[in-house]
């Protein structure tokens, strides 16, 4: 196309078929507003999701993989060492819960191995006798070789058993005793 053609900007002949196809260069006008906006919101959400995902992976590796040690694994299994900050899991022994000042004392048992716990916080949730719990704290070994768990926080590990309240009421004491022995 010859840009110096004096007839370049002349009106096109009045022919509909041709008019439809003739597209002359138009004046340069700002077109930014016409274009699509950059999806900043989507980029922001994606960035947040990536950061959160990274945090969750880190939490999974540092916290979730070895969430707790069973009581019988303390001092035996790797990572369940005495003196180290760990979580222990066991069932609260029947008749072992007592309060001395701000400390709650109880015994947790798993696989026939028991450990006394001195809990410095208030037990919450469904905490009660014969229920599995996870206690955060550290195992302290006394000079006589006996061990005690200095607990900071207790979480109730509700198991997968569901029972009607009324059914259990028939012989509640027996049911609890059974549950206690079945869980340890």
């Amino acid at each position: 196309m010859d840009v110096n053609d004096p007839h370049l900007n002349d009106p096109a002949p009045n022919d509909t078929a041709l008019n439809d196809t003739v597209l002359r260069p138009r004046e340069v006008v700002p077109t930014a507003a016409r274009g699509r906006k950059k999806p900043w919101f989507a980029y922001g959400v994606l960035a947040l999701a990536l950061v959160a995902g990274g945090v969750f992976v880190a939490k999974f590796l540092t916290n979730a993989l070895d969430y707790y040690c069973n009581v019988d694994e303390v001092g035996v299994k790797d990572g369940c060492d005495v003196g180290r900050s760990i979580r222990i899991q066991g069932v609260v022994e029947k008749g072992s819960v007592a309060e001395t000042g701000s400390v709650t004392n109880f015994v947790v048992t798993f696989n026939g191995v028991s450990m006394p716990v001195n809990l410095s916080s208030d037990p919450t949730g469904l905490f009660q006798e014969c229920i599995p719990v996870v206690v955060t704290g550290r195992v302290v070994e006394n000079t006589d070789g006996s061990r005690v768990f200095e607990g900071e926080e207790v979480l109730v590990k509700h198991d997968e058993n569901y029972d009607k309240e009324n059914e259990a009421r028939v012989d509640k004491a027996n049911a609890e005793a059974d549950a206690c022995s079945a869980r340890t």
Partner: protein, 257 residues
């Protein structure tokens, strides 16, 4: 794209008003009513007819929301993954699969959010904490943000086909996380309890109420996805129309008046 714009070619500046057909059909209206009935049943059974648990007391009722919403989130992400595979496979490639994947993921994120909130409330009254970084909770949180990320990727722009292809690849990968979450209670040692229903630890009216919850949530899922994918189709059409209008306007400029 074509066929949607009904204006004649020689008056390209005017485009017909969008087809105002609603996103509902007779089927979806019946489904909507069935969903409401199902939720009504769930309220009656969940709050009034089902018994208290021996240990959890009335707190057990949260399960009738928590478990169905978790299962439906799994299903939703599964549907997203399978639809994405259908899009990626050349013989079945269609944007309809992509929109179904997107709609299902949106509803899945909603259900996963309900799972996390209801579980957190139950955790406070049963465990004694709203949150802890155990295997089940951490993998669930990861699954949740994965699909939020997936929805963000769908909105990054480009053509419909670009959106479909990149999000489909992500959805197929993300689908692999679902078994990770489900089996986290057996593969690792979380605070979260083990599988209850599969192990047959639920019976009588409690099991039935959970079943009612599952039916109600499934109906709700289908209803939501049905409507959402229709809305997504309309949104795509609006986008296409925007392009049609731009071309029409440009053509108009060339016609001397």
């Amino acid at each position: 794209m074509t066929g949607f714009m009904t204006s004649p070619r020689n008056s390209p500046g005017t485009v017909a008003v969008l087809d105002r057909a609603p996103t509902s059909t007779t089927f979806s209206r019946v489904l909507g009513i069935a969903t409401l009935v199902g939720i009504g049943w769930l309220v009656v059974f969940g709050l009034f007819l089902s018994p208290n648990d021996r240990v959890q007391k009335t707190g057990v009722r949260i399960m009738y929301i928590h478990v169905p919403s978790a299962w439906l989130a799994y299903l939703a992400f599964g549907v997203t993954g399978v639809s994405s595979l259908a899009y990626l496979w050349k013989r079945t490639r269609s944007l309809a699969w992509d929109r179904l994947a997107g709609a299902s993921a949106e509803v899945g994120v909603l259900f996963m959010g309900i799972t996390l909130v209801s579980g957190s409330l139950w955790g406070r009254i049963s465990w004694g904490t709203y949150w802890t970084w155990d295997a089940r909770l951490t993998t669930t949180a990861f699954l949740f943000v994965t699909y939020i990320g997936y929805l963000a990727v769908r909105d990054l722009g480009g053509t419909h086909q670009q959106r479909a292809k990149r999000s489909a690849v992500l959805a197929v990968l993300a689908m692999l996380e679902v078994p990770l979450v489900h089996f986290s209670v057996t593969w690792w040692r979380p605070l979260h309890q083990n599988e209850t229903v599969e192990n047959g630890k639920l019976s009588g009216l409690m099991l039935f109420t959970l079943f009612v919850g599952l039916i109600a949530f499934t109906l709700l899922y289908v209803w939501l996805v049905l409507h959402r994918q229709r809305v997504l189709t309309l949104l795509d059409q609006v986008d296409d129309r925007g392009l049609d209008v731009a071309i029409a306007e440009r053509r108009n400029e060339s016609v001397p008046s």
